[in-house]
Each structure stands twice: as structure tokens, then as C-alpha cells.
Symmetry: C3
Subunit: 212 residues, 3 copies
């Protein structure tokens, strides 16, 4: 019975690893840009990759968090950080793929976070919020540690894309859809919105006089 | 037997809702001022309203935190954020009422946080600290997310007012006073100290040469 | 049987108190430097002294954290903060002893944090990370609250010294060494690396063109 799900589970796990890896890259890249030493770069890679999931797990009481109970995400983040430290000049050329994988990681984390929150009995509005937090928490921790205004709060449709992905999972849960298509739809929705914001300039209104 | 307490419980609950609402307004107002988009404003409203209580609940091990286990505070914060986004020019004119409600929210959160910590068996000095954290945590999270020095650390008698309110609850607990008058005294003490700081310039000493 | 350990336990407890005290001093000193009032200084002293241990305890699910379950660390941090507030001009003259005790505190917290994480069944790579977090968390919280880039991410061999101390404990655990010599070796290793960084300029490589 589970055999039918296996390809999808493999897919989600693969995307989860990709998400961890890409977020670690984004943290390490900021560390290199700020001229941190190797160790600071690795710390920032790890923090960016796992903070979202850790915050979610603390808030639903799933302690110790998954990224603490296992060392896999640590290993993956260290590999990503070492690669960035060594080959960072390449990152400029890889901007488009990195942005795509970042959007994919955002969607995967948001979807997986929502599923985990629902599985722990959290009400659906807060489950969607926790899914969003899973997606954006790593970037927020990265920005707070480097004393920047978190980009999730100023970037065009970043947190909102994560929330949209989370809402797809919640809708599927409410209406009894099979979980795998709902999860894939959530990831796709998040990636779509994020890429539209990046390449078509979609954005939300800002309050106040337009002149700024 | 509980009937006698009911008016007081209703009062405390009403004040708790007011506190959540007012703190959400203060977060949303900062978001508008920083020209964040609608979504960033709503996130900041929610974070400001619930971070203090969430931090307290994590630290006493009451997981998931009350603001995660229920969606009511989320809804209230979103309404407050939408109102600020739409009607923010009014906020300048409402400065005095907002400051009063902010002081009231601070006191209510400090008192309720202390009561919850004591009920979870925390020793009284740390229960008072946790009450203070409940009151000031939202403002601290708001300031950290927007890369400001938390005003609770520099404002005249802000955290101290929260601590004073918390200490009133602790004193009542130690000396066996009935909880409701102790709670109301704590809120009143916090509001009084905060308003004295705002309108009479009460403040604590600063170390070092006066010339600065 | 435990009698043989008693001197070592007393030593570790004494070092733990020294670590709390010294970290509180470093937080209070930054508060004075930023011209915070007495209360802000005390808050910063407490936050710096206990945040690392609290973060560790939350992440391993040991709730409420030790610094919440008891009021001893609070009292110690307040005493340290009051002393700094009163006698801060002395701090400049005491720079070398303070740096030494800070390194000792870092090592003690890293070692004790690793031991606690291992005792809670955490895998050894993450136990070492949690030990490091116990050591550096207080300084990170201090810097985030004052809107600085955390020095642990830019200072020469600070977090790395903590991690080295933690790894000594992990090595002892893996190879079945008696815990007390492993702990003392960890503290000594951390102090040695930190002092080499401070007085001999040991540092890690930075990525990118040397010209900066």
C-alpha cells in the first residue's frame, strides 16, 4: 500500500535535502561576502539551513528538534559551506539556478513544516503559519545574526509565497485530498509566486504616500 | 464558588485581548513606518503581539505555546495589522491613547505571565522575570527583526515597569493575598510607572560621566 | 565511590559560577558602554550569562531550563551587573584578567553543555555543536540585543575554541575516558586556543582576495 507513495516520498526527501543544501549555500554566501572566516561561514551555513525547522519543532513541542536529534543536516550544511568557501566566485554566475533552488527549498520547507504541525494536532491557521516559519526562519536567523533587516520582511513576496504553499497543504488536509499531490501543489505554488516576484516584479502594496 | 471571580476573569481576559491588540498595532505601525509591504506589516504585528507569551511558554515548558495552540491571537493581530495598514495616518493623532493602552498591555502581560509561571511551579524570582519577559518580549522581537536596539533596553522605565507589576503578583503569592486584587494592583503599578516615565520623565541613573 | 570525584565536581561548579559571573560582567560592560540605564545593564548582564545554557536546554528538551528552574544564576548576574555599574572605570584596567576569565567561562560552558547534551542522548556531532552553543549563545544574544554583528562570528577563534573544548568531551565519551580529565582537558584546550588567538593572533583563513 505504501509502495505507491514511495516515489513521492523519495521526491520529498530529495527536495528536503536540496532545501537544506541551498539554504546552507545562501548563508555561507552571505558569510563570505561579509568576509567572515571559515568557521563563521560554516556557522552561518548551518544556522540558515536548520533554524526554520528548529523553530517549528520548538513551537510544536517536538523536542529535541529533528536537526538536533540527527547529525545529517549538520553534515550537509558543512559540505555546502566548504564548497561556497572554496568556490564562491562561481556563485555570481550561478545566480539564476541558486534563486530557483532557493524558491524550491522555501516551498519544500513550508510544505513539510505544515504537514508536521498538522500531524502534531495544531489548528490549521497556526499550522500554515508554522509552515511559513519553517520556510523563512533560516533566512531570518541569518539576517539577524548579520545585523540586517530580515529580507523576508522586505523582499517581494517571499514569506507570502511560503504561506501560499503552506495553505495548499492546509486546504488538502481540510478537504481530504491525498497528501502527496497537495504537497507537490504547495511547492509548485510557492515556486511560481516567488519566481513571478523575482522576474516579473509581482509585489504587494506598501502603505503611505507613493513618493516615499 | 467561581461565580464571584467571574467579573475579574472577564476583566483580565478583556485586558489580555486589548494587550494583544495594542501590541499588534505597535508592531504594524513600525512596519508601515519602515515602508514594509502589507505582508511584512502583518508579520510584524503578529510577532510583536505574541512573542513575549511564546517565549514565556517555551521557557516554562508549556508546549505548544498558547498562541500556537489556538488561532485567536493570530486573528486578532491580523485585524490590528490591517487596520493600521489602512488607517495609519490616524496613529499620529492617537499617540496618547496608544501609549496608555501599550502601558496597560505591558502590565497585563507581565501579570498574566507571572501567574502562569508560578502555576507551573517556577521559583518566585524567575517567575517575576518570566512575567517581565512576557511583557517586553514582543517589543524586543519587533526591534530585533527590524534591526533596532530594543527600546526596552534604552527606554525610560519600560521593562522595569513590567517587572514591578510582576513583583506585585509574586508578593501576593508569597503573602497569600487573593489573586485578583494582586493582579489588578500589578497592572495598575505598571501603568503608573510607565506613564510617570512618559509624562514626568522618571528615569533610572546611567553610569559614567554625565557629559556623555 | 563518588567521593573521588568530589574535588573535581566542586571545581567544575566553581568554574561554572565563574563563567556565569564573567559573562554577566561582559554583558553589563557593553550596557554601560552603550549608556543604558541601570536596569538595561542588569538585563544585559543576565541575558549574556544565561542565554547559552537556556538555548541548549530548550534544544535538548530539558524544560524548564536550569537557569529558569533555579534563581541562583539570576542572583549572580545581578551582583555582577551592579558591580560593573558601580565600578566600571576599573574594567579598562582589568582587561587581561577579564579576557582570561571569559576564555575560561567559554570553555567551562562548552564542556558542561556537551556533557549535558550527551547525557540527554544527543548524537555526538550535535552534542559538540550544542556545547559550542552553550559557550557562545550568551555573547550572541548580547550582540543581537544591542544590534551588533555577533562577535562570535567575526572574532578570531572564539566559537572554534568552544567547539574544540566540546570535541574533547565528545572524544572522551567515544573512547571511554573518565569524564573529569576529559572535561578539564576540554576547558584547557578552549582557553589555550582563545588566548593564542588574542595574544598571538592565531586566526582562520578568510575567503576572497586578500586586499579586501
Amino acid at each position: 500500500m505504501l509502495t505507491g507513495l514511495q516515489p513521492a516520498v523519495v521526491l520529498v526527501n530529495a527536495l528536503d535535502l536540496i532545501g537544506t543544501f541551498v539554504f546552507a549555500i545562501s548563508g555561507a554566501a552571505l558569510g563570505v561576502q561579509r568576509r567572515m572566516d571559515l568557521f563563521g561561514v560554516l556557522v552561518l551555513a548551518f544556522v540558515t539551513a536548520v533554524s526554520g525547522g528548529i523553530l517549528r519543532d520548538v513551537l510544536i513541542g517536538a523536542l529535541p528538534p529533528a536537526s538536533v536529534a540527527s547529525w545529517h543536516n549538520l553534515a550537509l550544511a558543512l559540505v555546502a559551506g566548504l564548497l561556497v568557501f572554496q568556490f564562491h566566485p562561481l556563485l555570481g554566475r550561478l545566480r539564476h539556478p541558486v534563486q530557483f533552488f532557493d524558491a524550491a527549498g522555501l516551498g519544500v520547507f513550508a510544505v513539510a513544516g505544515t504537514q508536521k504541525a498538522l500531524a502534531h494536532g495544531i489548528n490549521w491557521p497556526m499550522a500554515a503559519v508554522l509552515g511559513m516559519i519553517s520556510g523563512i526562519g533560516g533566512g531570518m536567523a541569518r539576517d539577524v545574526l548579520t545585523a540586517e533587516v530580515p529580507t523576508v520582511l522586505v523582499a517581494n513576496i517571499y514569506a507570502l509565497a511560503a504561506l501560499a504553499g503552506a495553505m495548499a497543504v492546509v486546504a488538502g488536509y481540510q478537504f481530504g485530498w491525498p497528501p502527496t499531490p497537495a504537497a507537490l501543489a504547495g511547492v509548485a505554488l510557492c515556486v511560481f509566486l516567488r519566481l513571478m516576484a523575482l522576474y516579473r516584479g509581482w509585489k504587494l502594496p506598501v502603505a503611505g504616500p507613493k513618493g516615499g
